[in-house]
C-alpha cells in the first residue's frame, strides 16, 4: 500500500527518466519524421478539400453536438470584431469535455461551451480553464454561479424532470403525476420510461434528482420500487422520447424523463399550430434536477482578449435571448426576455433538487453502479 | 526446312534442390534452332522444374542457361521471348478468344493493324477462324488447347515451352493434335521443348528426346536411337519395354541365361558386367515347324503362349519362357498360335540390346 502511494505520489519527477517515456519520445520522433514525409500529401488533400483553416483572424469554440445558435447573432459578433467564429463539435457533453482535457497541452479551441454541473468538478480538477470575471455576470442569478474563481461561467440551464402526455391521461381518466413518488403507485405500472444514467446525461440528471429528493439512503429504495413498477430504461434521450413516449411517436409510455422546456419545443415544432402543449412537465418542488451549462476560456488560448469578448457576448442579452428557441433551454441572464412560446408553455422548477458538483464527480461511478445493480441486474 | 546448325539453347550443369531433395541434378544438353525436344520422364522427374527454370519462373541454384549465346539469368521472364503453353492452358477467363491471342502482341505494343492480321492468321492456323468472339468457357477442351497454342505462338517466341499440353485430352484427340502441333511448329520453324510422360507422344512430336529420371538426364538422343538403344534398364522400362532377361555375357557374343543362349548384335560395347538384355517385342518371328537352321545373327527361344491380344496391326503374345512372361508383337498373318500352345521364336540379334542394370 505504502509502496503504491509512493509511486503515484512522487511519480511525476521519477518518470521523466523512465525508459517508457524515452520510448514514447522516440516513437514521436519517428512519427514526426514520417509525418513530414506524409505531410505534403495531406496538405494537397487539405487544399483540394477547400480547407479554410488558415483564415486570417478567427476564434474557435469547442462544444457538444447539441449546441445551436442563430446565424444573425453570430454574424453580429463577427462583424463587430472583424473575426470569424469557428465551431467544433465533439460528441456529447461528456465526450467533448474529455477531448478538451486531453488536448490541454495544445488546445483545439479558445472557448469551451457546454460543461454542465454534472461534469463541473471534472473540468475544474483538470485545470483547463482560465479565470475571467465577466462584467455580464451581473445579470446572472448567484444561484447559478458555482465557481467563485470565475473559470466556468453559467450560460444556460434546463430542468430535467418528468414529462407526460396530457391526452393519454385525459383519455384514461387517470390523474397525471405531480410528484416522483406517484410513479411507484400501482396505477402507474408500466407507464414510465427513463434514460440509463450510464449512457445519457438527462438520465444522469434524473438519477441525481432522485438522490437529491430521497437522499443517498433512500434513492435505491425508490428505484427498487420503480423496477417493480416496470420502469423502462432506454439508452438515450432520443430513444426514450421518440422511441417510447406516446406523445412523440407510436410509443407506449405516457411518462418520459425530459426537460421542463420540452413542452414549448413540442408546440414550436408541431406540424400544425397548437394553442396548448400536448405534453406537460412536472416541476413541483424537489422533483427536478437543474442542469446548468457553463462557458469558459481554455488555458493556452492565443487570443485571450477576443475569447473574453466572445464570453461577454455569449452572456449578453442578444445571445441569451436566442438560446431558448435554438437549444430549448433557459438563458442564464435574467435580463433576457423569453420568446412567446416559452412564456406560454414553459415552466421553471421552483425548487430543484440539489447535489453538490464535487459530490457528483466523486460518487458518480458508485451511484451509477448501485443504480445498475438495482434496476438492471 | 532443315534445322541449321546453330545452337539456340545450351544448358550446362543445371542443379536445383528443394528442401534437400534434388529436383534437378547436373543437367546439361543443347538444342539447335528449329528442333523440337521432348522432355520425357515420370511424375516427379524434374521435367516441369526444368521448363520453369528455362522460362525464368524459378531461379536456378547452380548451372548456366545460354539462350542465343547469352546467359539469361539476368533477364526477367517477361523479356526472355520464351513462350509457354501451360498444362491447364491458363487461358484468361475474362478475355475472349481474340483477346487472349492478342495479349502477347499488345504487350509488345504491336501496331493495331499488324496485331489484327497476326491474330487472324493464328486463328486460321489452329483452325478456329470465326471463334474470335467466343468466351473461354464456351470452348471445348480441344478448342481451348488450340487457343492456348495460338496465344503462345502469336508473339513469335524464339523458344516455345509446352508443359504437358495434351495431358487432359482424350486419346484420339491427343493423337490428332500431336501431329497438328508438330506440323504447326515445323511450318513456323519454332524451336520447342515439349514436356510429356507419354512416350508415344514424345516419339511422334520430337526431333530429340531427353529422358529425365529423379532429376537426372538419363539419355538425350533422337527418338529412333532412343528406341533402338535405350541407355539403361530404367530408360528402357520407362519407354515401356518389359522383356528383360538376366544372365551373363559369353565370349562368343552370346548372352547366356536360364532361358538359353541369346545372340547379341552389339559386340562393340560387350562387357562382362552387363548382366541384362532387353529383347524388343518387335524382334521376333514365329518358327513354323522344323525348318532348316536359324538365320544368321539370331537365336532361338521356346516357350508356352499364355495370352494373345489383338492390337490392330499386330498380335501381342505373352510367352512364358522359364517362368517369365515375355511380350512379342507378331504380324496378323499368319494366324497366331493358340493359348497354351508351345512355340519357338526366332530372335533377331539387332533386337537384343545389352543394358547396364
Amino acid at each position: 500500500m505504502t509502496h503504491n502511494r509512493l509511486l503515484t505520489g512522487g511519480g511525476f519527477f521519477i518518470v521523466q527518466h523512465t525508459p517508457l517515456h524515452v520510448i514514447l519520445n522516440s516513437m514521436e520522433e519517428t512519427m514526426n519524421r514520417i509525418s513530414r514525409f506524409f505531410g505534403s500529401l495531406i496538405v494537397v488533400l487539405a487544399v483540394l478539400a477547400g480547407n479554410n483553416a488558415f483564415a486570417e483572424k478567427s476564434i474557435t469554440v469547442m462544444t457538444h453536438d447539441s449546441f445551436n445558435i442563430s446565424k444573425e447573432v453570430i454574424s453580429h459578433f463577427e462583424q463587430e470584431n472583424g473575426v470569424t467564429v469557428r465551431f467544433l463539435k465533439s460528441g456529447d457533453a461528456g465526450a467533448a469535455l474529455v477531448q478538451a482535457i486531453l488536448s490541454k497541452e495544445n488546445p483545439l479551441a479558445d472557448v469551451f461551451y457546454g460543461v454542465d454541473n454534472t461534469f463541473f468538478s471534472r473540468a475544474i480538477d483538470a485545470d483547463i480553464f482560465q479565470p475571467y470575471a465577466s462584467p455580464m455576470l451581473a445579470g446572472v442569478p448567484v444561484s447559478l454561479q458555482l465557481d467563485p474563481q470565475y473559470r466556468l461561467l453559467p450560460v444556460d440551464y434546463g430542468d430535467v424532470c418528468l414529462n407526460y402526455d396530457k391526452a393519454w391521461f385525459a383519455a384514461k381518466g387517470i390523474a397525471p403525476p405531480s410528484d416522483l413518488t406517484d410513479l411507484v403507485r400501482p396505477e402507474y405500472k408500466g407507464l414510465t420510461v427513463v434514460q440509463n444514467p450510464a449512457t445519457s446525461s438527462p438520465g444522469m440528471a434524473f438519477l441525481l434528482a432522485t438522490i437529491g429528493k430521497f437522499g443517498e439512503e433512500g434513492y435505491l429504495d425508490f428505484w427498487m420500487k420503480m423496477r417493480k413498477n416496470q420502469v423502462l430504461v432506454a439508452g438515450g434521450w432520443e430513444d426514450a422520447y421518440f422511441g417510447h413516449f406516446t406523445a412523440a411517436s407510436k410509443g407506449d409510455r405516457p411518462i418520459v424523463v425530459s426537460y421542463a422546456s420540452s413542452p414549448p419545443a413540442a408546440v414550436y415544432y408541431s406540424e400544425k399550430p397548437l394553442s396548448e402543449a400536448p405534453t406537460a412537465a412536472v416541476v413541483t418542488a424537489d422533483n427536478a434536477f437543474r442542469q446548468i451549462e457553463f462557458v469558459g476560456i481554455l488555458k493556452g488560448t492565443k487570443s485571450p482578449e477576443l475569447a473574453a469578448k466572445l464570453v461577454d457576448f455569449m452572456l449578453s442579452v442578444q445571445f441569451q435571448e436566442d438560446i431558448p428557441l435554438q437549444m430549448f433551454v433557459f438563458p442564464a441572464n435574467s435580463n433576457a426576455r423569453l420568446p412567446d412560446v416559452f412564456v406560454q408553455h414553459a415552466v421553471v422548477a421552483e425548487q430543484p433538487a440539489i447535489v453538490r458538483p464535487a459530490a457528483i464527480e466523486a460518487n458518480r461511478s458508485i451511484w451509477v453502479e448501485a443504480w445498475t445493480d438495482v434496476v438492471l441486474r | 526446312m532443315r534445322p541449321n546448325d546453330k545452337k539456340i539453347l545450351e544448358v550446362i550443369g543445371l542443379t536445383n534442390h528443394y528442401a534437400g531433395e534434388p529436383l534437378l541434378e547436373d543437367v546439361s544438353f543443347s538444342l539447335l534452332k528449329g528442333e523440337i525436344l521432348c522432355l520425357l520422364g515420370p511424375s516427379g522427374s524434374g521435367k516441369t522444374t526444368l521448363l520453369r527454370l528455362l522460362a525464368g519462373l524459378e531461379d536456378e541454384q547452380s548451372g548456366t542457361i545460354l539462350f542465343q549465346g547469352r546467359d539469361i539469368k539476368p533477364i526477367p521472364p517477361h523479356k526472355r521471348k520464351i513462350g509457354m503453353m501451360f498444362q491447364e492452358y491458363a487461358l484468361f477467363p475474362h478475355k475472349t478468344v481474340w483477346q487472349n491471342i492478342a495479349f502477347g502482341l499488345e504487350m509488345q505494343n504491336c501496331p493495331e493493324k499488324d496485331k489484327e492480321k497476326r491474330v487472324l492468321a493464328m486463328l486460321e492456323m489452329v483452325g478456329l477462324s470465326g471463334f474470335g468472339n467466343r468466351k473461354i468457357d464456351e470452348l471445348s477442351g480441344g478448342e481451348r488447347q488450340r487457343v492456348a497454342l495460338a496465344r503462345s505462338l502469336a508473339p513469335e517466341p524464339e523458344l516455345l515451352l509446352l508443359d504437358e499440353p495434351l495431358g487432359s485430352l482424350d486419346r484420339t484427340l491427343r493423337d490428332r493434335l500431336t501431329i497438328e502441333i508438330r506440323s504447326i511448329l515445323k511450318s513456323l520453324e519454332v524451336t520447342a521443348i515439349f514436356v510429356t510422360h507419354d512416350q508415344a507422344e514424345a516419339f511422334s512430336v520430337a526431333d530429340k528426346v531427353a529422358v529425365l529420371q529423379r532429376g537426372r538426364l538419363q539419355q538425350f538422343d533422337t527418338p529412333e536411337n532412343l528406341y533402338r538403344l535405350p541407355a539403361n534398364r530404367a530408360v528402357a522400362a520407362f519407354l515401356g519395354f518389359s522383356n528383360f532377361v538376366v544372365g551373363t555375357v559369353d565370349d562368343d557374343s552370346v548372352f547366356s541365361s536360364t532361358a538359353g543362349g541369346i545372340r547379341v548384335s552389339q559386340l562393340a560395347g560387350l562387357q562382362r558386367h552387363h548382366q541384362v538384355v532387353l529383347i524388343r517385342p518387335d524382334g521376333a518371328v514365329l518358327r513354323c515347324g522344323e525348318e532348316a537352321g536359324l538365320p544368321a545373327e539370331s537365336s532361338l527361344l521356346s516357350g508356352t503362349v499364355r495370352s494373345v491380344c489383338f492390337q490392330g496391326s499386330t498380335y501381342r503374345l505373352g510367352v512364358e519362357v522359364d517362368e517369365k512372361i515375355l511380350l512379342f508383337d507378331l504380324p496378323i498373318d499368319p494366324k497366331p498360335p493358340a493359348v497354351n500352345e508351345r512355340i519357338s521364336l526366332v530372335i533377331k540379334a539387332t533386337a537384343v540390346i545389352l543394358l547396364e542394370n
Binding site: F38, D239, S262, S270, F328 | L23, H78
Partner: protein
C-alpha cells in the same frame, strides 16, 4: 509429394528473389504507413497516456477489471451475442447468396441495392423502422390484434435479445449476400455435377463440395459480421436496452461518463486482443484451406432459372428478403409521409426551408453532397490501400502473412472512442494538425472501410491460379502489366463489392461520432441526429424524411454501381 505440389510450395522460396521481395514491401508500405499514422500511433499514445497519467502507473484504477466478475460477464455477453448473430446471419443469408450468385432474374439489381441500404442507416432510425413494424403499436401487432381479436399486442420484442439479433441480421445480411454471392458465382458448376454423378445427394454435395470451396468467402463474411457485432454499440444499446452491454458500450461509459481512462484503455486492449486472436486464427485457416480451384467462367456468370423448382427457390428467397429487410425500410418511408393528420409532405418541404435560422443549418441537398463527397473520398482511399494490401497478402505465402492479415483488420475491432481520443493527442502538430481538419473525416472512415475492402478482395485474388500470371509474364507482360491486365479485371467484381461497402461505411459514419467534427459540413446522419435532438413532431418527421433521402441516395448509388457492373460485363465480351 508430386512434382506440381513441390513446385507450388517451393514457389514462395525460390521466386523470392530480392527485387520481387522489395517490390512487395514497397506496395505494402503505403497501407502500413497509413495504419502507423492513423491507427498505431494514436492508439499507442492514448493507451500509454491512459496507463501512465503524468507518467505514473496507477494499478488501482483498473484493479476492478480483475476483481469484479462484471467485466467477465460483459466479455462473455459480447462474445456470445456476436457469435449467435453471426450464425443466424449466415444461416439466413447463405440461401440468398446462392440465389444471387447463380441466377439472374428481373429486379435483381434493385433488390440487391435495397438490401444494402440498412448498412448506412443510423441505429436510431433502424429502431424507428422496426418499431413501426414490430413495436407494441406497430403495424404487425395492429393487424394481429384486430385479426385475432386480441386485447394486448402478441409480439413483444422491445428490449429483448431477439430485437437486436434481428437488427444485427438486418444490418449484416447484405454483407454475407454480396461477399459469398460473388464468390459463389465463380465456382464451376461442373464440380457439383461431378459430385452428383459420384452419388452425392444435393445436401451432401453442398456440405462436402460447395461449402468447403466457399470457405474463404464465408469465412471472410463471417469474420466481418462477427467483429461488427462484437463492437456493436448503438444496436445493443438502443434495441437491446440497457440490460445488455457490450465491451464497446462499457468503454464509452468508462471513458466519457466516469473519466476512467485506464479502465477504458484496458478494455479496449481486451477487445482488440480477442478480435486479433480470432482474426489471426482465421487468417491461418484461410491460408491453409486456400483452394487453387478456379473455373474458366469465373468472372461470374449467373444464369436464368429454368426449372420450376429453381424459380420457386428464387421466389421464396426474394419474399424472405423483402419481409426481413425491405419492409422495415418501407415502414420508414411511410412514416416520413404520415403526419398527425394523415398523409403529408410537410416534413419534406420543411427540410428545404430555413425556418430555424441556425448557424449550422444546411440545405438537405448539401448534406447529401457532403455525405457523397466524404463517401467518395473515403472509398478512394480505402480501395487504393485495400488493393495494395491485398496484393501484398495474396503474393506472400510466408508465415508472417497471417499476422499481417490480422493486423490490417485491427481498426475494425477497435473502439471508436479510444481511437478518437488518440487522434486528439497525436494529430496536433503540423503537418499533421488534423484534429479538426475536414480531411480527417474521410481518413477516419477509410480506416474502418479499408479492412473491409481487403476482406472483399483477398479471397478473389487468392483464387486466381498462379499459372494465369505466369502465362501473361511469358507473353511479355511486366509485373505491373500482369497485375493490370490479369489480376485487376478478374477481381473487378470484388473491388466493386468492396467499394460499395467502403462507400456505405462512410455514409453510415461508423463510429465517427467520437471524432471532432466541423458542424458546418454536416453529413446526412448528422442532419438526422440534429432533428432527433429536440422534441416535436416536425423534428421527428424531418428526421424520417432525411432518413428516407439517405435511403434513396444510397439505394440509387448502389443500383448505379450494379448497372455499371452489368454494363462492364456486356462491353467486355461484346468485342
Amino acid at each position: 509429394m508430386s512434382e506440381v505440389q513441390l513446385i507450388a510450395e517451393g514457389r514462395g522460396k525460390h521466386c523470392g528473389d530480392r527485387s520481387k521481395h522489395l517490390l512487395r514491401w514497397l506496395l505494402f508500405s503505403l497501407p502500413l504507413l497509413f495504419l502507423a499514422l492513423f491507427y498505431f500511433y494514436p492508439l499507442t499514445k492514448i493507451v500509454l497516456l491512459s496507463f501512465l497519467p503524468e507518467g505514473s502507473w496507477q494499478p488501482e484504477k483498473i484493479s476492478r477489471l480483475f476483481s469484479s466478475t462484471v467485466y467477465l460477464r460483459i466479455l462473455w455477453f459480447t462474445t456470445w451475442q456476436a457469435a449467435l448473430s453471426t450464425l443466424i446471419t449466415l444461416g439466413l443469408a447463405l440461401p440468398g447468396a446462392y440465389v444471387f450468385g447463380r441466377y439472374t432474374f428481373p429486379g435483381k439489381n434493385l433488390i440487391q441495392a435495397l438490401l444494402t441500404v440498412p448498412f448506412v442507416l443510423p441505429t436510431v432510425v433502424t429502431a424507428a423502422a422496426f418499431r413501426a413494424l414490430l413495436g407494441q403499436n406497430g403495424l404487425l401487432n395492429g393487424w394481429l390484434m384486430s385479426g385475432f381479436d386480441l386485447s394486448s399486442p402478441p409480439i413483444r420484442i422491445e428490449q429483448t435479445v431477439y430485437f437486436f439479433l434481428l437488427a444485427h441480421v438486418f444490418y449484416n445480411y447484405s454483407l454475407v449476400l454480396r461477399i459469398v454471392g460473388g464468390f459463389w458465382a465463380g465456382l464451376d458448376p461442373d464440380v457439383r455435377a461431378a459430385a452428383r454423378m459420384l452419388g452425392a445427394s444435393p445436401w451432401q454435395t453442398f456440405r462436402r463440395i460447395t461449402l468447403p470451396l466457399l470457405f474463404p468467402a464465408i469465412g471472410s463474411a463471417a469474420l466481418l459480421v462477427f467483429i461488427f457485432c462484437f463492437t456493436s454499440f448503438g444496436v445493443v444499446l438502443i434495441l437491446g436496452g440497457p440490460g445488455y452491454a457490450t465491451i464497446e458500450v462499457e468503454i464509452y461509459r468508462q471513458a466519457v461518463q466516469l473519466f476512467n481512462l485506464p479502465m477504458a484503455a484496458a478494455l479496449s486492449l481486451v477487445q482488440i486482443a480477442v478480435n486479433f486472436l480470432l482474426m489471426w486464427l482465421y487468417a491461418r485457416l484461410d491460408k491453409r484451406s486456400k483452394t487453387t480451384f478456379y473455373s474458366d467462367g469465373a468472372t461470374g456468370s449467373a444464369m436464368q432459372p429454368v426449372l420450376k423448382s429453381q424459380k420457386a427457390w428464387i421466389g421464396v428467397n426474394v419474399v424472405f428478403m423483402v419481409i426481413l429487410l425491405v419492409s422495415p425500410l418501407m415502414a420508414l418511408v411511410m412514416r416520413s409521409v404520415t403526419g398527425e393528420y394523415g398523409m403529408t409532405f410537410a416534413y419534406y418541404s420543411a427540410l428545404f426551408t430555413t425556418q430555424t435560422r441556425s448557424v449550422f443549418f444546411v440545405e438537405p441537398i448539401s448534406a447529401v453532397s457532403n455525405s457523397i463527397g466524404f463517401g467518395v473520398a473515403a472509398m478512394l482511399i480505402a480501395v487504393t490501400l485495400g488493393l495494395l494490401a491485398s496484393t501484398f497478402l495474396a503474393s506472400a505465402r510466408s508465415k508472417g502473412t497471417s499476422l499481417w492479415d490480422a493486423v490490417i483488420m485491427l481498426p475494425l475491432a477497435t473502439s471508436a472512442v479510444t481511437l478518437g481520443f488518440g487522434y486528439i493527442i497525436t494529430l496536433n502538430r503540423p503537418p499533421l494538425n488534423l484534429r479538426d481538419s475536414i480531411v480527417l473525416v474521410p481518413i477516419a472512415h477509410a480506416l474502418v472501410a479499408f479492412p473491409f475492402v481487403v476482406r472483399c478482395i483477398l479471397p478473389s485474388l487468392r483464387r486466381i491460379p498462379q499459372s494465369l500470371r505466369e502465362a501473361a509474364t511469358l507473353l511479355g507482360a511486366s509485373p505491373f502489366q500482369v497485375w493490370r491486365y490479369v489480376d485487376l479485371p478478374i477481381i473487378m467484381r470484388a473491388i466493386l463489392v468492396g467499394s460499395v461497402f467502403a462507400f456505405s461505411i462512410s455514409l453510415g459514419e461508423f463510429g465517427a461520432s467520437a471524432f471532432v467534427t466541423r458542424p458546418h459540413t454536416p453529413t446526412m446522419p448528422v442532419a438526422i441526429f440534429r432533428f432527433l435532438g429536440q422534441p416535436g413532431d416536425m423534428n421527428y418527421g424531418q428526421a424520417m424524411a432525411m432518413s428516407t433521402i439517405l435511403m434513396l441516395v444510397t439505394c440509387s448509388g448502389f443500383w448505379m454501381i450494379g448497372r455499371f457492373d452489368s454494363l462492364r460485363k456486356s462491353v467486355g465480351t461484346g468485342v
